[in-house]
Structures are given as C-alpha cells and as structure tokens.
C-alpha cells in the first residue's frame, strides 16, 4: 500500500515530466526494471552492480587453464596477448613500464566488469558469474594481492586493495 506522501511525490514527478516533455518528441518507451537489469552489467568501483556468486583462486586456476591460458600464457605471463601478472615497481623512472592488472589497475571491480563483458576474447559473456569471480581471484592471487584461501564475492572484491590504487591524478589543462 502506498503512503499518501509517496503518491503525492509520484504525482508531482508525473506532472513535472509532462510539462518538461511538452516541447520534445518523447519517442522513447519506458524501460522496465527487468530489462535494465539484463543490460546493466557495469560495475562501479564501490562494487555497485556486482552479482551474487563467488569464487576462489583455486577454482579460478581451472577456469584460467581452460579459457584464458592459450592467449595470456602460463600464470598470466602474457604472450601472445596481454601480460596479466607482474610489473610491480616498473612504473616510476625511465625503465620500460610493465602495466598489468597487478601493477597498474586501480580497482579489482574493473577486472570483474571487463572479464565478464569481454573475455574470453573468442567467446565473451560465456562464463558464469561464479567463474568470473574465480578467475579474477586467480589473477589477483598470482599478483600476490589476495591470499590463497580468499573468496571473491560482491562483498569482498570491492575491498581488495590494488597496489596502484593511488597512482592516478585527474588531468587538468591548467595543471
């Protein structure tokens, strides 16, 4: 049962929208929450949007061996495609910078978001959420960022402290 105040609020919003829309074509159709849920797979750095499920480094090792290794190498060493492990300590100075998930990425949530939408390259969106958690856990473990027995889930993944978390400054033209 709606409270009177929320009904009033809804009525005001409806009124505002109709006035605002008077001069615009308004050809979009309202999207239902289930439709949005199906499409909205992006994960914020605070973990907003992470699905239920979980995975461990050990479970992830199997996923990695079956689905990632041919392109990203033994233990994420890279070749033929991106290196996913190592590179710590190479960012400062003039040496070749080895930017990997471990050395460069500021948020572990990005790894989940990206792997779920884009990897494995040859069959994106084919992993279950548990498999994505597990393979992320494995990559984070290989980088020495989480413990062997850590479990990655919607609760734990956003709390992972990435080594380069404070490595970024927003650009401004005026400096």
């Amino acid at each position: 049962m709606s409270t009177p105040s929320s009904m009033i609020a809804a009525a005001i919003i409806a009124l505002l929208s109709t006035t605002a829309l008077a001069e615009t074509p308004d050809q979009g159709r309202p999207a239902a929450p289930e439709e949005i849920a199906l499409w909205d797979t992006s994960i914020g750095p605070d973990g907003a949007g992470l699905p239920p499920g979980s995975g461990t480094p050990q479970q992830g090792e199997a996923v990695y061996a079956a689905r990632c290794l041919p392109c990203h190498g033994e233990k994420g060493a890279g070749k033929p495609n991106d290196q996913l492990v190592g590179g710590l300590g190479t960012l400062a100075g003039d040496q070749a910078a080895v930017k990997t998930v471990g050395s460069f990425w500021p948020y572990a949530t990005t790894l989940f978001d990206y792997v779920r939408r884009a990897m494995p390259f040859n069959a994106p969106k084919s992993l279950s959420d548990d498999e994505v958690y597990a393979v992320c856990a494995y990559i984070l473990r290989l980088n020495g960022i989480i413990e062997e027995r850590a479990v990655m889930s919607a609760q734990t993944l956003p709390k992972v402290q990435m080594p380069n978390r404070d490595g970024f400054m927003p650009f401004s033209r005026q400096k």
């Binding site: 074509p25 050809q27 999207a31 949005i36 992006s42 960012l91 400054m169 650009f171 033209r173």
Partner: protein, 423 residues
C-alpha cells in the same frame, strides 16, 4: 605581361630556408613567375586522342568506387596477435587533401571486431540516475530534430610512437593516421537526457557499445552539451566500422570516448572506472603516477606534404600543406619552419576554419636543394601553443603513450627524401 608586377613583394621570404609569404603564388599570373624552374617540355607527340575518348565509358554502378589508379589510397591496419579485429586501421592522410575523410578511409579502433548489427533490433537505453529510464529504437530517434556537425576524431594513442627515444621511421599514416574528420548528423544527446529527466546528483554518463567487447567509457556529464547520437556520417548512415547504426559523438574528446554501436547510457554519480579509463588512455609520468581523464585532444598540427615516404623531385617551388586541430576549439594560427624551428612563417589557413574540426594550412616554399627540417606549430583560440617535443618529453617522459601533441619534424635530404627526425 604582368610578370614584373606580381613578383614584387608577394614572393618575399617570410622565414629562413626558403619559406615564402603565404599570399604569394595565389594571384592570377603569379604562378607563372618562373620560380618553379622550367616546366617540363610537352612535345606535340605527347598529345593524342586517348583510347577512353574512342569508346563509351563504363555503365552506372549502385555505389561508386574511387578510380582504379588510386588503389594505394587505403587504410593500413594491425590487430592484436591471434585476432583479426582487435586493433586499429589508419587513415592515409598523406594521400588526401581538404579536411573531410571519406567514410571508407576513416580510421578505426576496435576492441573485438565490427559487429553486424541489425538496425531494427538495435536499442538505445538511457537509465541510471534518471526519473524515467527510456528505450529508443532507430525509428524513434529518426523523429527527433537532427543537427549536423563537422568534427575530427583522434585516437588518444595517435602518434604515441613519437614519445619513444629514437625517431621511428614511419610515414604520416603510421605516425598520425589515427585521425579523421567527418560531417556527423544526429540527435542531441542532451535532448534525450532531458526527456529521461537526469537527477541532480548525476555527474557522469557511462556509455556502452554493442560490440563483443561491450566497450564502455565514463563521460563527464558536461560533455553532453555538445554530444550527438550520430546516425549519419558524411551524409550516409554511419559505417559499421564507425558505429552503425549509432555512435556517440563528443566533439574534441579523445576517440575512445566516442563510443560506437551505442546501446546504453547510464547516468552515475562517479566514474565507473572501466578498463579503458584505467588500464588504458592514462598518461604515465616519470614519477610513476598517471594522469587520468585526459578528455579533450590538445592542440596539434602536422605537415602532410611533404612527409616521410615522399621524395621531392628537385629544388624549386613547393606548397607545404598540413593539418591542424584542437579539441578545445578553433585553430587561430599555424606557423611553419624550414630550419628546424629557428625561424617561423605564418601559414595560410584554408576556409572553413571550424572549432574541433581539421583545419588545412598551406605555405609556399622554395627549396634550394640543401638540407631542411620542416615543422609546423599550431595555436588555438585560447592562445595555447603546440609544444616542442622536448618540452613534452621533459614533462611526461618517454613512456606516456597517449595524447602526444608535440611539434613533428621532417628532414629533407639532398636527394629530396623526407625522413622523421627529432629536432
């Protein structure tokens, strides 16, 4: 003849090593002042009735193609090992003139190939911090007022190789070819956001593509002021390689943010921190820290003619010509040097000079056959001057990868060969 009169001040030197005044060689008759040396003699035997004048030409075609003699005017591309569509193709800037890139030559950067999107099945979802989440079909968008805008798009990684310590021997296509300019037509994003009713705490928009990589970027909400949901490119539907059936166009912003195959815009409070705004498109400094959210393309220019791979046939008159652009607005001046930056002459800017679009500059030059180092330097409407490469490297080091906008140097050797050098 008016020979004497037009040679007057118009062909005066404007800067060292043969740069001439930008107004010279433009007046009628001025081109025949004998500066170019003797034109090659054309004997009567060279003039004949050619075969194509002796029979009817080919029939009509549904979609025209360039002359078969222009087969070298093509993009060059490279993809990540083992993949065919995760990489980039480059515009052959050294073979084009004017400022508009033909659709088949617009540069591309794909992360997982070009999706084969059925326009009737495609939807654009606007949601997140909005009062009314909305879904748009292509048909629905076609009923909105449309705007047309000429805008360049440059990949944030264009000319990244010029940060390297050794001057790579690349032609213009390889060094600067992740740059194109087109006339884009579409619906103002701000209008769609207004209909959805953006909530006040929304500061960012996450834009997502419908490709296999689900390419996504966070865009500051102020970018929506100028943004288009572009449906047409140079008059025809946006090409699949550029986001068919719709792409985000953010004039002046680095290419990667102009999300192709646009399917979703989510209003958010903060940036989503996607892979392409953390792992990529950030500028690593010698301190080990990285600059993030480097959105507009900084003011930049480059000489297209002559450029590496081109050999000047001999001493004499040439028109130096190139491109200048700024993600912050209009180009106000381009200067050219033929002596490696010791002296500069203002180039003529060809109209139209539009904000956040490519601008073509030109300047006549009398090459004496000796060594020369050609450079161009652009200034934008705010007074910002394109930096030397040295200044950029001092600030950013050689591992910055993205947003290289330093002055580029082409050395002309004694046989007319042009090479990329650091000067």
């Amino acid at each position: 003849m008016n020979r004497r009169r037009s040679t007057g001040s118009a062909t005066e030197a404007a800067a060292g090593n043969g740069l001439l005044d930008r107004r010279s060689l433009l007046a009628a008759g001025a081109g025949s002042v004998g500066l170019a040396g003797a034109p090659s003699a054309l004997g009567a035997a060279d003039l004949s009735i050619e075969p194509w004048m002796r029979e009817p030409g080919s029939p009509f075609t549904g979609y025209g193609q360039p002359s078969r003699f222009e087969s070298k005017t093509v993009r060059t591309s490279a993809s990540a090992p083992g993949t065919t569509g995760a990489g980039a193709s480059r515009t052959p800037l050294q073979r084009l003139n004017g400022t508009i890139t033909p659709n088949g030559l617009h540069f591309e950067r794909h992360h997982s190939g070009i999706p084969d999107i059925d326009p009737d099945a495609h939807r654009l979802l606007i949601h997140g911090l909005v009062n009314r989440p909305l879904l748009f079909t292509l048909e629905a968008l076609a009923r909105y007022p449309m705007e047309t805008r000429i805008a360049f798009i440059e990949c944030g990684g264009n000319s990244g190789a010029l940060y390297q310590k050794e001057a790579a021997q690349l032609d213009l296509q390889a060094s600067h070819g992740l740059l194109s300019c087109a006339e884009w037509t579409g619906v103002r994003l701000a209008l769609l956001l207004e209909e959805a009713g953006i909530e006040p705490q929304a500061r960012w928009l996450l834009a997502e593509g419908a490709d296999a990589a689900g390419m996504s970027r966070s865009v500051p909400i102020k970018a929506a002021d100028e943004a288009l949901v572009a449906l047409y490119q140079n008059g025809e539907r946006v090409r699949p390689s550029n986001g068919y059936p719709m792409r985000l166009l953010l004039p002046g912003y680095e290419g990667n943010m102009n999300v192709k195959w646009l399917r979703r815009i989510k209003a958010t409070e903060g940036p989503t921190m996607t892979k392409d705004e953390t792992s990529k498109y950030t500028i690593l400094l010698p301190s080990g820290k990285s600059l993030q959210f480097v959105f507009p393309i900084e003011t930049k220019s480059v000489i297209a003619y002559p450029s590496p791979g081109i050999t000047l046939p001999g001493a004499g008159i040439y028109e130096i010509s190139g491109l200048a652009w700024s993600g912050y607005g209009k180009i106000s001046q381009v200067e050219v040097s033929a002596d490696g930056g010791k002296s500069w002459a203002p180039a003529a800017l060809r109209e139209p000079v539009l904000p956040k679009a490519l601008t073509r500059f030109r300047l006549p030059w009398r090459w004496d056959g000796g060594p020369a180092v050609l450079q161009s330097r652009a200034t934008d409407g705010s007074g910002y001057v394109q930096p030397t490469r040295d200044a950029l490297i001092t600030e950013r080091g050689s591992r910055a990868t993205y947003h290289f906008n330093g002055i580029t140097s082409w050395a002309v050797g004694e046989h007319g060969e042009v090479r990329h050098v650091y000067a």
